[in-house]
Protein backbone atom coordinates (compact mmCIF):
# COMPACT_ATOMS: atom_id res chain seq x y z
CA UNK A 1 0.00 0.00 0.00
CA UNK A 2 1.37 3.39 -0.99
CA UNK A 3 2.12 5.91 1.63
CA UNK A 4 -0.80 8.24 1.91
CA UNK A 5 -0.22 11.93 2.64
CA UNK A 6 -1.59 12.97 6.08
CA UNK A 7 -3.95 15.64 4.70
CA UNK A 8 -5.59 13.13 2.49
CA UNK A 9 -5.90 10.89 5.49
CA UNK A 10 -8.14 13.27 7.42
CA UNK A 11 -10.06 14.14 4.29
CA UNK A 12 -10.56 10.53 3.53
CA UNK A 13 -11.89 9.85 7.01
CA UNK A 14 -14.57 12.45 6.45
CA UNK A 15 -15.43 11.49 2.93
CA UNK A 16 -15.45 7.81 3.67
CA UNK A 17 -18.31 8.42 6.05
CA UNK A 18 -20.24 10.07 3.27
CA UNK A 19 -19.32 7.41 0.79
CA UNK A 20 -20.19 4.77 3.30
CA UNK A 21 -23.69 6.13 3.50
CA UNK A 22 -24.09 5.85 -0.26
CA UNK A 23 -22.77 2.36 -0.26
CA UNK A 24 -25.03 1.53 2.60
CA UNK A 25 -28.01 2.57 0.58
CA UNK A 26 -26.80 0.72 -2.46
CA UNK A 27 -26.36 -2.44 -0.47
CA UNK A 28 -29.73 -2.10 1.13
CA UNK A 29 -31.26 -2.20 -2.28
CA UNK A 30 -29.24 -5.28 -2.91
CA UNK A 31 -30.61 -6.64 0.30
CA UNK A 32 -27.46 -6.92 2.33
CA UNK A 33 -26.25 -5.13 5.40
CA UNK A 34 -22.55 -4.35 5.39
CA UNK A 35 -20.70 -5.25 8.55
CA UNK A 36 -18.22 -2.57 9.52
CA UNK A 37 -14.71 -3.85 9.35
CA UNK A 38 -13.39 -1.24 11.70
CA UNK A 39 -10.86 -0.21 9.17
CA UNK A 40 -11.52 3.35 8.11
CA UNK A 41 -8.99 3.33 5.38
CA UNK A 42 -10.13 0.31 3.55
CA UNK A 43 -13.62 -0.96 3.30
CA UNK A 44 -14.80 -4.26 2.11
CA UNK A 45 -18.01 -4.32 0.33
CA UNK A 46 -19.80 -7.40 -0.71
CA UNK A 47 -22.06 -6.82 -3.63
CA UNK A 48 -25.04 -8.84 -4.60
CA UNK A 49 -22.99 -11.05 -6.83
CA UNK A 50 -20.76 -11.89 -3.91
CA UNK A 51 -17.74 -10.16 -5.31
CA UNK A 52 -15.49 -8.61 -2.76
CA UNK A 53 -14.34 -5.23 -3.67
CA UNK A 54 -11.82 -3.45 -1.59
CA UNK A 55 -12.09 0.25 -1.69
CA UNK A 56 -9.67 2.83 -0.52
CA UNK A 57 -11.85 5.85 0.14
CA UNK A 58 -8.87 8.15 0.10
CA UNK A 59 -8.09 7.20 -3.43
CA UNK A 60 -11.74 7.49 -4.30
CA UNK A 61 -11.64 10.96 -3.03
CA UNK A 62 -8.69 11.73 -5.27
CA UNK A 63 -10.58 10.45 -8.24
CA UNK A 64 -13.70 12.32 -7.27
CA UNK A 65 -11.81 15.58 -7.20
CA UNK A 66 -11.24 15.29 -10.91
CA UNK A 67 -14.94 15.07 -11.55
CA UNK A 68 -16.18 17.82 -9.33
CA UNK A 69 -19.87 17.64 -8.63
CA UNK A 70 -21.46 20.55 -10.45
CA UNK A 71 -23.07 23.17 -8.26
CA UNK A 72 -26.51 22.56 -6.90
CA UNK A 73 -28.09 25.36 -8.89
CA UNK A 74 -26.71 24.00 -12.11
CA UNK A 75 -27.98 20.54 -11.28
CA UNK A 76 -31.40 21.94 -10.48
CA UNK A 77 -31.52 23.76 -13.77
CA UNK A 78 -30.57 20.61 -15.67
CA UNK A 79 -33.21 18.71 -13.75
CA UNK A 80 -35.91 21.20 -14.57
CA UNK A 81 -35.09 21.31 -18.23
CA UNK A 82 -34.59 17.65 -18.89
CA UNK A 83 -37.15 16.13 -16.56
CA UNK A 84 -39.85 18.77 -16.60
CA UNK A 85 -39.04 20.30 -19.95
CA UNK A 86 -40.63 17.87 -22.36
CA UNK A 87 -43.69 17.69 -20.17
CA UNK A 88 -44.09 21.42 -20.39
CA UNK A 89 -44.13 21.52 -24.16
CA UNK A 90 -47.74 20.46 -24.52
CA UNK A 91 -49.09 22.85 -21.90
CA UNK A 92 -47.17 25.67 -23.50
CA UNK A 93 -48.53 24.76 -26.91
CA UNK A 94 -52.04 24.67 -25.50
CA UNK A 95 -51.48 28.02 -23.87
CA UNK A 96 -50.31 29.42 -27.17
CA UNK A 97 -53.35 28.03 -28.96
CA UNK A 98 -55.53 29.51 -26.26
CA UNK A 99 -53.97 32.93 -26.67
CA UNK A 100 -54.29 32.72 -30.44
CA UNK A 101 -57.92 31.77 -30.11
CA UNK A 102 -58.49 34.79 -27.96
CA UNK A 103 -56.64 37.08 -30.31
CA UNK A 104 -58.20 35.83 -33.50
CA UNK A 105 -61.56 34.87 -32.10
CA UNK A 106 -61.55 31.20 -33.05
CA UNK A 107 -63.81 30.54 -30.15
CA UNK A 108 -66.21 33.20 -28.92
CA UNK A 109 -64.53 35.04 -26.11
CA UNK A 110 -67.55 34.67 -23.91
CA UNK A 111 -66.94 30.94 -23.98
CA UNK A 112 -63.16 30.94 -23.90
CA UNK A 113 -62.02 34.19 -22.32
CA UNK A 114 -58.50 35.32 -23.07
CA UNK A 115 -55.76 34.05 -20.78
CA UNK A 116 -55.11 37.60 -19.68
CA UNK A 117 -58.66 37.90 -18.44
CA UNK A 118 -58.38 34.67 -16.48
CA UNK A 119 -55.16 35.92 -14.96
CA UNK A 120 -56.86 39.16 -13.98
CA UNK A 121 -59.67 37.33 -12.31
CA UNK A 122 -57.25 35.11 -10.46
CA UNK A 123 -55.29 38.09 -9.20
CA UNK A 124 -58.46 39.82 -8.16
CA UNK A 125 -59.69 36.82 -6.24
CA UNK A 126 -56.34 36.18 -4.62
CA UNK A 127 -56.03 39.75 -3.45
CA UNK A 128 -59.50 39.95 -1.97
CA UNK A 129 -59.07 36.61 -0.32
CA UNK A 130 -62.09 34.99 -1.89
CA UNK A 131 -60.01 32.40 -3.71
CA UNK A 132 -58.50 31.23 -0.47
CA UNK A 133 -61.92 31.10 1.16
CA UNK A 134 -63.45 29.00 -1.59
CA UNK A 135 -60.41 26.75 -1.88
CA UNK A 136 -60.17 26.07 1.80
CA UNK A 137 -63.85 25.27 2.02
CA UNK A 138 -63.64 22.82 -0.84
CA UNK A 139 -60.43 21.31 0.49
CA UNK A 140 -61.90 20.78 3.92
CA UNK A 141 -64.90 19.09 2.42
CA UNK A 142 -62.77 16.75 0.37
CA UNK A 143 -60.49 15.94 3.27
CA UNK A 144 -63.40 15.22 5.55
CA UNK A 145 -65.09 13.03 2.99
CA UNK A 146 -61.84 11.34 2.05
CA UNK A 147 -60.90 10.54 5.63
CA UNK A 148 -64.32 9.13 6.27
CA UNK A 149 -64.53 7.15 3.06
CA UNK A 150 -60.94 5.92 3.08
CA UNK A 151 -61.08 4.99 6.74
CA UNK A 152 -64.18 2.90 6.30
CA UNK A 153 -62.90 1.57 2.99
CA UNK A 154 -59.59 0.38 4.38
CA UNK A 155 -61.24 -1.25 7.33
CA UNK A 156 -63.95 -2.90 5.28
CA UNK A 157 -61.60 -3.99 2.53
CA UNK A 158 -59.33 -5.58 5.04
CA UNK A 159 -62.20 -7.26 6.82
CA UNK A 160 -63.59 -8.60 3.57
CA UNK A 161 -60.23 -10.00 2.61
CA UNK A 162 -59.71 -11.56 5.99
CA UNK A 163 -63.03 -13.29 6.22
CA UNK A 164 -64.52 -15.02 3.19
CA UNK A 165 -67.70 -15.47 5.14
CA UNK A 166 -68.05 -11.77 5.76
CA UNK A 167 -67.29 -11.25 2.10
CA UNK A 168 -70.20 -13.50 1.20
CA UNK A 169 -72.52 -11.54 3.43
CA UNK A 170 -71.52 -8.08 2.42
CA UNK A 171 -70.35 -8.34 -1.14
CA UNK A 172 -73.74 -8.44 -2.86
CA UNK A 173 -74.79 -5.28 -1.10
CA UNK A 174 -71.48 -3.62 -1.83
CA UNK A 175 -71.71 -4.54 -5.50
CA UNK A 176 -75.24 -3.22 -5.73
CA UNK A 177 -74.32 0.08 -4.15
CA UNK A 178 -71.19 0.51 -6.21
CA UNK A 179 -73.05 0.04 -9.48
CA UNK A 180 -75.21 3.09 -9.00
CA UNK A 181 -73.49 6.20 -10.36
CA UNK A 182 -72.68 8.56 -7.54
CA UNK A 183 -74.80 11.32 -9.01
CA UNK A 184 -77.67 8.89 -9.10
CA UNK A 185 -77.86 9.17 -5.34
CA UNK A 186 -78.24 12.92 -5.44
CA UNK A 187 -82.02 13.13 -5.77
CA UNK A 188 -82.51 10.63 -2.98
CA UNK A 189 -79.95 12.15 -0.66
CA UNK A 190 -81.09 15.70 -1.30
CA UNK A 191 -84.57 14.79 -0.27
CA UNK A 192 -83.36 12.92 2.79
CA UNK A 193 -80.31 14.80 3.99
CA UNK A 194 -80.70 18.18 2.36
CA UNK A 195 -78.15 20.29 0.58
CA UNK A 196 -75.87 21.09 3.48
CA UNK A 197 -72.50 19.70 4.44
CA UNK A 198 -74.07 16.33 5.10
CA UNK A 199 -74.80 15.87 1.42
CA UNK A 200 -71.29 16.73 0.35
CA UNK A 201 -69.64 14.65 3.06
CA UNK A 202 -71.69 11.58 2.34
CA UNK A 203 -71.36 11.75 -1.43
CA UNK A 204 -67.63 12.39 -1.31
CA UNK A 205 -67.17 9.67 1.26
CA UNK A 206 -69.18 7.25 -0.84
CA UNK A 207 -67.18 7.97 -3.98
CA UNK A 208 -63.95 7.46 -2.04
CA UNK A 209 -65.13 4.42 -0.15
CA UNK A 210 -65.86 2.28 -3.19
CA UNK A 211 -62.44 2.25 -4.89
CA UNK A 212 -60.59 2.15 -1.57
CA UNK A 213 -62.53 -0.90 -0.42
CA UNK A 214 -61.98 -2.63 -3.71
CA UNK A 215 -58.30 -1.79 -3.79
CA UNK A 216 -57.69 -2.88 -0.22
CA UNK A 217 -59.65 -6.05 -0.67
CA UNK A 218 -57.87 -7.03 -3.86
CA UNK A 219 -54.52 -5.97 -2.56
CA UNK A 220 -54.69 -8.05 0.56
CA UNK A 221 -56.35 -10.97 -1.09
CA UNK A 222 -53.79 -11.06 -3.87
CA UNK A 223 -50.81 -11.26 -1.56
CA UNK A 224 -49.13 -14.42 -2.83
CA UNK A 225 -49.55 -17.39 -0.60
CA UNK A 226 -45.78 -17.82 -0.64
CA UNK A 227 -45.43 -14.62 1.33
CA UNK A 228 -47.87 -15.76 3.94
CA UNK A 229 -45.99 -19.03 4.18
CA UNK A 230 -42.85 -17.12 5.04
CA UNK A 231 -44.76 -15.54 7.86
CA UNK A 232 -45.85 -18.91 9.11
CA UNK A 233 -42.36 -20.33 8.83
CA UNK A 234 -40.99 -17.45 10.83
CA UNK A 235 -43.83 -17.94 13.34
CA UNK A 236 -45.01 -14.38 13.08
CA UNK A 237 -47.97 -13.34 15.12
CA UNK A 238 -50.99 -12.16 13.18
CA UNK A 239 -50.10 -8.57 13.83
CA UNK A 240 -46.51 -9.05 12.78
CA UNK A 241 -47.61 -10.88 9.72
CA UNK A 242 -50.01 -8.10 8.88
CA UNK A 243 -47.64 -5.24 9.29
CA UNK A 244 -44.47 -6.83 7.99
CA UNK A 245 -45.72 -8.96 5.16
CA UNK A 246 -49.27 -8.46 4.06
CA UNK A 247 -49.69 -4.73 4.17
CA UNK A 248 -46.43 -3.88 2.44
CA UNK A 249 -47.24 -6.38 -0.29
CA UNK A 250 -50.68 -4.96 -0.68
CA UNK A 251 -49.47 -1.37 -0.81
CA UNK A 252 -49.59 -0.97 -4.61
CA UNK A 253 -53.18 -2.05 -4.88
CA UNK A 254 -54.22 -0.17 -1.77
CA UNK A 255 -52.62 2.98 -3.02
CA UNK A 256 -54.16 2.62 -6.43
CA UNK A 257 -57.45 2.49 -4.62
CA UNK A 258 -56.57 5.50 -2.49
CA UNK A 259 -55.47 7.55 -5.46
CA UNK A 260 -58.56 6.69 -7.40
CA UNK A 261 -60.60 7.42 -4.30
CA UNK A 262 -59.08 10.84 -3.87
CA UNK A 263 -59.54 11.63 -7.52
CA UNK A 264 -63.15 10.46 -7.35
CA UNK A 265 -63.78 12.39 -4.20
CA UNK A 266 -62.48 15.59 -5.69
CA UNK A 267 -64.59 15.14 -8.81
CA UNK A 268 -67.66 14.31 -6.80
CA UNK A 269 -67.22 17.35 -4.64
CA UNK A 270 -67.03 19.60 -7.65
CA UNK A 271 -70.10 18.00 -9.15
CA UNK A 272 -72.07 18.35 -5.92
CA UNK A 273 -70.95 21.93 -5.44
CA UNK A 274 -72.05 22.59 -8.99
CA UNK A 275 -75.49 21.29 -8.20
CA UNK A 276 -76.19 22.87 -4.87
CA UNK A 277 -73.85 24.97 -2.85
CA UNK A 278 -73.28 28.45 -1.56
CA UNK A 279 -69.50 28.52 -1.60
CA UNK A 280 -66.52 26.54 -2.71
CA UNK A 281 -64.64 26.04 -5.95
CA UNK A 282 -67.41 24.08 -7.61
CA UNK A 283 -69.83 26.80 -6.64
CA UNK A 284 -67.51 29.36 -8.25
CA UNK A 285 -67.70 27.41 -11.46
CA UNK A 286 -71.47 27.28 -11.37
CA UNK A 287 -71.67 30.92 -10.39
CA UNK A 288 -69.33 31.96 -13.16
CA UNK A 289 -71.44 30.09 -15.65
CA UNK A 290 -74.66 31.62 -14.37
CA UNK A 291 -73.27 35.11 -14.71
CA UNK A 292 -71.74 34.37 -18.10
CA UNK A 293 -68.26 35.05 -16.77
CA UNK A 294 -66.48 31.96 -17.89
CA UNK A 295 -63.14 33.32 -16.79
CA UNK A 296 -64.33 32.50 -13.28
CA UNK A 297 -65.02 28.99 -14.46
CA UNK A 298 -61.59 28.59 -15.98
CA UNK A 299 -59.86 30.13 -13.00
CA UNK A 300 -61.62 27.69 -10.71
CA UNK A 301 -60.78 24.82 -13.08
CA UNK A 302 -57.11 25.68 -12.92
CA UNK A 303 -57.08 25.75 -9.16
CA UNK A 304 -59.00 22.47 -9.05
CA UNK A 305 -56.60 20.84 -11.45
CA UNK A 306 -53.61 22.07 -9.52
CA UNK A 307 -54.90 20.81 -6.21
CA UNK A 308 -55.83 17.48 -7.71
CA UNK A 309 -52.37 17.19 -9.15
CA UNK A 310 -50.82 17.95 -5.77
CA UNK A 311 -52.99 15.33 -4.10
CA UNK A 312 -51.98 12.73 -6.64
CA UNK A 313 -48.34 13.71 -6.37
CA UNK A 314 -48.36 13.48 -2.59
CA UNK A 315 -50.00 10.10 -2.59
CA UNK A 316 -47.53 8.91 -5.19
CA UNK A 317 -44.65 10.03 -3.02
CA UNK A 318 -46.04 8.30 0.00
CA UNK A 319 -46.50 5.17 -2.02
CA UNK A 320 -42.91 5.27 -3.26
CA UNK A 321 -41.71 5.80 0.28
CA UNK A 322 -43.69 2.83 1.52
CA UNK A 323 -42.41 0.75 -1.35
CA UNK A 324 -38.74 1.50 -0.92
CA UNK A 325 -38.06 -2.06 0.12
CA UNK A 326 -39.13 -3.32 -3.27
CA UNK A 327 -36.50 -4.99 -5.39
CA UNK A 328 -36.75 -3.67 -8.90
CA UNK A 329 -37.84 -6.48 -11.19
Amino acid sequence: MARIPPQLLTQSLQSSAALAADQHAALLLGGYHPTPTGDALMQETITEAGVVRARIPALDNLAAKDHQQPSAVYRLAIFVVTRLGPGLILPLVLLAVWQLSATYGWLPDQILPAPALVLDVLQERISDGSLWDDTSISLLRVLRGFTLGAGIGLALGGALAASPRLHDYLNPLFLAVSQVPILGWVPLLILVIGIDEGLKNSLVALSVFIPVTLGTFQGIRDVPFAYREVGQVLTFSRLQSLTTIILPAAVPAIFTGLREGLSNGWQTLVAVELLASTEGLGFQMAYGRQLFQLELVIAAMLVIGLIGFLFDFLLGRIETHLQRWQVAA
Partner: protein, 259 residues
Protein backbone atom coordinates in the same frame (compact mmCIF):
# COMPACT_ATOMS: atom_id res chain seq x y z
CA UNK B 1 -68.67 -40.31 7.85
CA UNK B 2 -68.77 -37.03 9.60
CA UNK B 3 -71.54 -34.65 8.68
CA UNK B 4 -70.22 -31.31 7.64
CA UNK B 5 -71.27 -28.44 9.88
CA UNK B 6 -74.22 -26.45 8.65
CA UNK B 7 -71.97 -23.59 7.66
CA UNK B 8 -70.34 -25.71 5.04
CA UNK B 9 -73.28 -27.31 3.35
CA UNK B 10 -74.06 -26.58 -0.25
CA UNK B 11 -76.74 -24.10 0.76
CA UNK B 12 -74.58 -22.18 3.11
CA UNK B 13 -72.82 -19.98 0.61
CA UNK B 14 -75.84 -18.87 -1.44
CA UNK B 15 -77.66 -18.30 1.81
CA UNK B 16 -74.94 -16.00 3.04
CA UNK B 17 -74.89 -14.13 -0.24
CA UNK B 18 -78.59 -13.50 -0.14
CA UNK B 19 -78.87 -12.89 3.57
CA UNK B 20 -78.28 -9.19 3.76
CA UNK B 21 -80.23 -8.18 0.69
CA UNK B 22 -83.19 -10.24 1.84
CA UNK B 23 -83.06 -8.76 5.30
CA UNK B 24 -82.99 -5.27 3.87
CA UNK B 25 -85.89 -5.99 1.57
CA UNK B 26 -87.83 -7.42 4.47
CA UNK B 27 -87.06 -4.41 6.60
CA UNK B 28 -88.20 -2.16 3.78
CA UNK B 29 -91.48 -4.01 3.46
CA UNK B 30 -92.08 -4.02 7.18
CA UNK B 31 -91.36 -0.34 7.64
CA UNK B 32 -93.60 0.56 4.75
CA UNK B 33 -96.47 -1.60 5.92
CA UNK B 34 -96.18 -0.67 9.55
CA UNK B 35 -96.01 2.95 8.58
CA UNK B 36 -92.73 3.41 10.40
CA UNK B 37 -91.39 5.68 7.73
CA UNK B 38 -93.06 8.56 6.01
CA UNK B 39 -94.39 7.04 2.78
CA UNK B 40 -93.36 10.21 1.01
CA UNK B 41 -89.77 9.44 1.86
CA UNK B 42 -89.82 5.70 1.50
CA UNK B 43 -92.65 4.27 -0.50
CA UNK B 44 -93.35 0.60 -0.16
CA UNK B 45 -91.55 -1.80 -2.42
CA UNK B 46 -94.67 -2.79 -4.26
CA UNK B 47 -95.40 0.85 -4.98
CA UNK B 48 -92.04 1.20 -6.58
CA UNK B 49 -92.56 -1.93 -8.59
CA UNK B 50 -96.04 -1.01 -9.69
CA UNK B 51 -94.75 2.39 -10.69
CA UNK B 52 -92.13 0.59 -12.70
CA UNK B 53 -94.75 -1.49 -14.41
CA UNK B 54 -96.81 1.56 -15.17
CA UNK B 55 -93.87 3.38 -16.64
CA UNK B 56 -92.94 0.41 -18.77
CA UNK B 57 -96.50 0.11 -19.94
CA UNK B 58 -96.72 3.68 -21.11
CA UNK B 59 -93.41 3.29 -22.85
CA UNK B 60 -91.74 6.15 -21.00
CA UNK B 61 -89.27 4.05 -19.11
CA UNK B 62 -88.14 2.01 -22.06
CA UNK B 63 -87.69 5.09 -24.22
CA UNK B 64 -85.68 6.75 -21.51
CA UNK B 65 -83.61 3.63 -20.99
CA UNK B 66 -82.99 3.19 -24.67
CA UNK B 67 -81.89 6.77 -25.08
CA UNK B 68 -79.52 6.64 -22.13
CA UNK B 69 -77.99 3.37 -23.23
CA UNK B 70 -77.53 4.58 -26.78
CA UNK B 71 -75.68 7.64 -25.59
CA UNK B 72 -73.65 5.64 -23.16
CA UNK B 73 -72.49 3.08 -25.68
CA UNK B 74 -71.71 5.67 -28.33
CA UNK B 75 -69.64 7.72 -25.93
CA UNK B 76 -68.00 4.66 -24.48
CA UNK B 77 -67.03 3.31 -27.89
CA UNK B 78 -65.44 6.58 -28.93
CA UNK B 79 -63.77 7.37 -25.64
CA UNK B 80 -62.49 3.90 -24.91
CA UNK B 81 -61.02 3.37 -28.34
CA UNK B 82 -59.29 6.75 -28.29
CA UNK B 83 -58.09 6.10 -24.76
CA UNK B 84 -56.71 2.67 -25.53
CA UNK B 85 -54.96 3.92 -28.63
CA UNK B 86 -53.45 6.80 -26.69
CA UNK B 87 -52.42 4.48 -23.90
CA UNK B 88 -50.58 2.28 -26.38
CA UNK B 89 -48.90 5.30 -27.90
CA UNK B 90 -47.79 6.67 -24.56
CA UNK B 91 -46.68 3.29 -23.36
CA UNK B 92 -44.52 2.46 -26.32
CA UNK B 93 -43.18 5.85 -27.13
CA UNK B 94 -40.88 7.46 -24.64
CA UNK B 95 -41.17 10.72 -26.44
CA UNK B 96 -44.94 10.72 -26.38
CA UNK B 97 -44.85 9.86 -22.72
CA UNK B 98 -42.65 12.77 -21.82
CA UNK B 99 -44.58 15.18 -23.97
CA UNK B 100 -48.09 14.24 -23.05
CA UNK B 101 -47.70 12.52 -19.71
CA UNK B 102 -47.71 15.41 -17.26
CA UNK B 103 -50.52 17.20 -19.06
CA UNK B 104 -52.65 14.10 -18.99
CA UNK B 105 -51.96 13.61 -15.32
CA UNK B 106 -53.17 17.09 -14.56
CA UNK B 107 -56.14 16.74 -16.86
CA UNK B 108 -57.18 13.68 -14.92
CA UNK B 109 -57.56 15.79 -11.82
CA UNK B 110 -59.82 18.42 -13.28
CA UNK B 111 -63.37 17.50 -12.56
CA UNK B 112 -65.12 16.22 -15.62
CA UNK B 113 -68.01 18.55 -15.05
CA UNK B 114 -65.83 21.57 -15.43
CA UNK B 115 -65.70 20.77 -19.13
CA UNK B 116 -69.44 21.04 -19.60
CA UNK B 117 -69.51 24.69 -20.75
CA UNK B 118 -66.72 24.17 -23.25
CA UNK B 119 -68.19 20.94 -24.53
CA UNK B 120 -71.56 22.64 -24.85
CA UNK B 121 -69.95 25.17 -27.12
CA UNK B 122 -67.97 22.80 -29.25
CA UNK B 123 -70.55 20.12 -29.69
CA UNK B 124 -73.75 21.75 -28.60
CA UNK B 125 -75.56 20.80 -25.44
CA UNK B 126 -77.69 18.24 -27.21
CA UNK B 127 -76.86 14.69 -28.16
CA UNK B 128 -73.44 15.43 -29.57
CA UNK B 129 -72.42 17.28 -26.45
CA UNK B 130 -73.58 14.52 -24.15
CA UNK B 131 -71.79 11.87 -26.18
CA UNK B 132 -68.63 13.97 -26.20
CA UNK B 133 -68.84 14.30 -22.44
CA UNK B 134 -69.29 10.57 -22.01
CA UNK B 135 -66.42 9.89 -24.38
CA UNK B 136 -64.22 12.17 -22.30
CA UNK B 137 -65.15 10.22 -19.21
CA UNK B 138 -64.38 6.89 -20.87
CA UNK B 139 -61.11 8.15 -22.31
CA UNK B 140 -59.32 8.64 -19.02
CA UNK B 141 -59.47 5.16 -17.44
CA UNK B 142 -58.78 3.31 -20.66
CA UNK B 143 -55.77 5.54 -21.26
CA UNK B 144 -54.33 5.08 -17.78
CA UNK B 145 -54.83 1.35 -17.67
CA UNK B 146 -53.52 0.64 -21.14
CA UNK B 147 -50.53 2.86 -20.48
CA UNK B 148 -49.80 1.06 -17.29
CA UNK B 149 -50.26 -2.24 -19.02
CA UNK B 150 -47.60 -1.39 -21.54
CA UNK B 151 -45.24 -0.13 -18.86
CA UNK B 152 -45.72 -3.30 -16.87
CA UNK B 153 -44.57 -5.59 -19.65
CA UNK B 154 -41.81 -7.39 -17.80
CA UNK B 155 -38.35 -6.71 -19.06
CA UNK B 156 -37.79 -10.39 -19.58
CA UNK B 157 -40.50 -10.44 -22.22
CA UNK B 158 -38.60 -7.89 -24.21
CA UNK B 159 -35.44 -9.84 -23.63
CA UNK B 160 -37.15 -12.94 -24.91
CA UNK B 161 -38.18 -11.11 -28.06
CA UNK B 162 -34.64 -9.95 -28.52
CA UNK B 163 -33.28 -13.44 -28.00
CA UNK B 164 -35.75 -14.85 -30.52
CA UNK B 165 -34.89 -11.95 -32.84
CA UNK B 166 -38.49 -10.94 -33.24
CA UNK B 167 -39.32 -8.04 -35.45
CA UNK B 168 -41.16 -5.22 -33.79
CA UNK B 169 -44.39 -6.34 -35.34
CA UNK B 170 -43.95 -9.89 -34.19
CA UNK B 171 -43.04 -8.68 -30.76
CA UNK B 172 -46.26 -6.74 -30.65
CA UNK B 173 -48.37 -9.53 -31.98
CA UNK B 174 -47.08 -12.47 -30.04
CA UNK B 175 -45.76 -11.06 -26.86
CA UNK B 176 -46.74 -7.50 -26.10
CA UNK B 177 -50.42 -7.56 -27.00
CA UNK B 178 -51.27 -10.70 -25.05
CA UNK B 179 -49.41 -9.24 -22.11
CA UNK B 180 -51.26 -5.97 -22.33
CA UNK B 181 -54.67 -7.47 -22.92
CA UNK B 182 -55.60 -7.87 -19.24
CA UNK B 183 -54.70 -4.27 -18.56
CA UNK B 184 -56.70 -3.12 -21.54
CA UNK B 185 -59.62 -5.05 -20.20
CA UNK B 186 -59.32 -3.49 -16.80
CA UNK B 187 -59.32 -0.19 -18.57
CA UNK B 188 -62.39 -1.05 -20.58
CA UNK B 189 -64.22 -2.20 -17.50
CA UNK B 190 -63.39 1.01 -15.70
CA UNK B 191 -64.29 3.01 -18.79
CA UNK B 192 -67.66 1.30 -18.91
CA UNK B 193 -68.38 2.30 -15.36
CA UNK B 194 -67.17 5.85 -15.79
CA UNK B 195 -69.12 6.19 -19.02
CA UNK B 196 -72.29 5.14 -17.26
CA UNK B 197 -71.64 7.61 -14.48
CA UNK B 198 -71.02 10.30 -17.04
CA UNK B 199 -74.21 9.45 -18.88
CA UNK B 200 -76.21 10.29 -15.81
CA UNK B 201 -74.13 13.38 -15.22
CA UNK B 202 -74.59 14.54 -18.78
CA UNK B 203 -78.32 14.14 -18.53
CA UNK B 204 -78.38 16.13 -15.34
CA UNK B 205 -76.19 18.95 -16.55
CA UNK B 206 -77.11 19.33 -20.17
CA UNK B 207 -80.26 19.99 -22.10
CA UNK B 208 -83.30 17.89 -21.63
CA UNK B 209 -83.70 14.85 -23.71
CA UNK B 210 -85.24 11.47 -23.02
CA UNK B 211 -83.14 9.58 -20.55
CA UNK B 212 -82.93 8.01 -17.15
CA UNK B 213 -81.41 11.15 -15.70
CA UNK B 214 -84.42 13.11 -16.81
CA UNK B 215 -86.76 10.60 -15.23
CA UNK B 216 -84.83 10.87 -12.00
CA UNK B 217 -85.04 14.65 -11.97
CA UNK B 218 -88.69 14.45 -12.76
CA UNK B 219 -89.27 12.22 -9.78
CA UNK B 220 -87.28 14.50 -7.56
CA UNK B 221 -89.00 17.66 -8.64
CA UNK B 222 -92.46 16.25 -8.43
CA UNK B 223 -91.58 14.66 -5.13
CA UNK B 224 -92.35 11.23 -6.38
CA UNK B 225 -89.98 9.11 -4.41
CA UNK B 226 -91.24 5.95 -6.01
CA UNK B 227 -89.91 7.20 -9.32
CA UNK B 228 -86.61 8.20 -7.74
CA UNK B 229 -86.16 4.83 -6.09
CA UNK B 230 -87.17 3.11 -9.28
CA UNK B 231 -84.50 4.90 -11.25
CA UNK B 232 -81.88 4.14 -8.60
CA UNK B 233 -82.77 0.47 -8.79
CA UNK B 234 -82.58 0.61 -12.55
CA UNK B 235 -79.22 2.35 -12.48
CA UNK B 236 -77.86 -0.28 -10.17
CA UNK B 237 -79.20 -3.12 -12.26
CA UNK B 238 -77.78 -1.70 -15.45
CA UNK B 239 -74.45 -1.04 -13.83
CA UNK B 240 -74.38 -4.58 -12.57
CA UNK B 241 -75.29 -5.79 -16.02
CA UNK B 242 -72.38 -3.91 -17.53
CA UNK B 243 -70.05 -5.35 -14.95
CA UNK B 244 -71.28 -8.84 -15.66
CA UNK B 245 -70.84 -8.47 -19.38
CA UNK B 246 -67.39 -7.01 -18.92
CA UNK B 247 -66.32 -9.83 -16.63
CA UNK B 248 -67.73 -12.39 -19.01
CA UNK B 249 -65.88 -10.84 -21.89
CA UNK B 250 -62.72 -10.79 -19.89
CA UNK B 251 -62.95 -14.43 -18.93
CA UNK B 252 -63.77 -15.51 -22.46
CA UNK B 253 -61.01 -13.59 -24.15
CA UNK B 254 -58.36 -14.22 -21.57
CA UNK B 255 -59.01 -17.82 -20.82
CA UNK B 256 -55.89 -18.90 -22.60
CA UNK B 257 -53.70 -17.21 -20.09
CA UNK B 258 -51.93 -19.35 -17.61
CA UNK B 259 -50.62 -16.80 -15.15
Amino acid sequence: MTTAPLSQTAFARPARLLALPLILLAAWEVSARAGLVDPHLLPALEDVISRGEAEIANGELLTALGASLARDLAGFAIGASLGTASGLLLGFSHLAQRLFGPTLRVHRQIALFAWVPLIAVWFGAGEAGKIAFIALAAFQPSLINTWRGVLDIPARFRELAAVLTFSRLDFLRFIALPAILPAIFTGLKAALIYAWQATIGAELFMTIAPGIGGVMMQGRQLFQMDLVLLTILLLGVIGAGFNLIANLGETLLLRRRTS
